[in-house]
């Protein structure tokens, strides 16, 4: 599934990194601990988190993640968006909490 399809299906906000909206999603990883993501996420994962700073994009880029999804109406900081645009890594947003949106993604990936 492409990020763009997920945006439509779950009615997500797109804050930045639009160049990467055609990225394929292979799975998801839900965590707010950066080293946990560094150690355990797989390339192509959608990273579901409440962290809104620039280092999130550095990790997403180093790990070749598909996109970052901010939960619970969290908004990205400006330098996060700038980095996302430079790297072409989409930063998405939702009002849903991590449990709910993770479950929805899981169901979509496995249906």
């Amino acid at each position: 599934m492409k990020i763009l399809d997920l945006v439509t299906l779950l009615n997500l906000e797109v804050y930045g990194g639009k160049a990467g909206l055609e990225n394929e999603i292979n799975g998801g990883y839900t965590s707010d601990l950066l080293s946990d993501v560094m150690g355990n996420a797989n390339s192509g994962d959608l990273w579901i988190t409440l962290q809104t700073h620039k280092n999130v994009i550095a990790i997403a880029s180093l790990k070749d993640l598909a996109a970052v999804l901010l939960i619970n109406n969290n908004k990205p900081e400006l330098d996060m968006l700038k980095q996302a645009d430079e790297e072409g890594i989409p930063v998405l947003g939702t009002a849903m909490k991590s449990f709910e949106v993770s479950a929805k993604l899981y169901n979509l990936m496995n249906s």
Binding site: L34, S35, G39, Q51, N55, L62, K63
Partner: protein, 139 residues
Amino acid sequence: MKKLFFEYSVEAGNFTKAGDASSNFKKVLKQLNVDPQVIKRIVVALYEGEVNIVAHSVGGNIFCNIDPKSVNLILKDDGPGIPDINKAMQVGFSTASAKVREMGFGAGMGLVNMKNNVDFLKIESEMGKGTKVELTVNL
């Protein structure tokens, strides 16, 4: 592949630049057509080491040596040093500040991530002088 050498300096406390060295070195490895699975391992270990210098030291340098058989990284800082390396290696043990933890760093997983992704890891530290982390990933 010829022998290549790269050096990066890492600023203490500057989280906006944390990851810059790792990002640059990842590009170098890609250009050299290193196996993507190997690049992933090197990048995890290097990033954790880079963030440690930013979060815990007064600043330091990263020296990267590439030869046909391996990638060898030496991360050296100028202090303050690690009082108990065995403790630092324990999952969940962290001396990170509240501010750093709030950002999602400092979960006590960094050194373990390093260990799990490299073929060789050696940490030497002297209080007041600094820490030297050497790691190798075979190609």
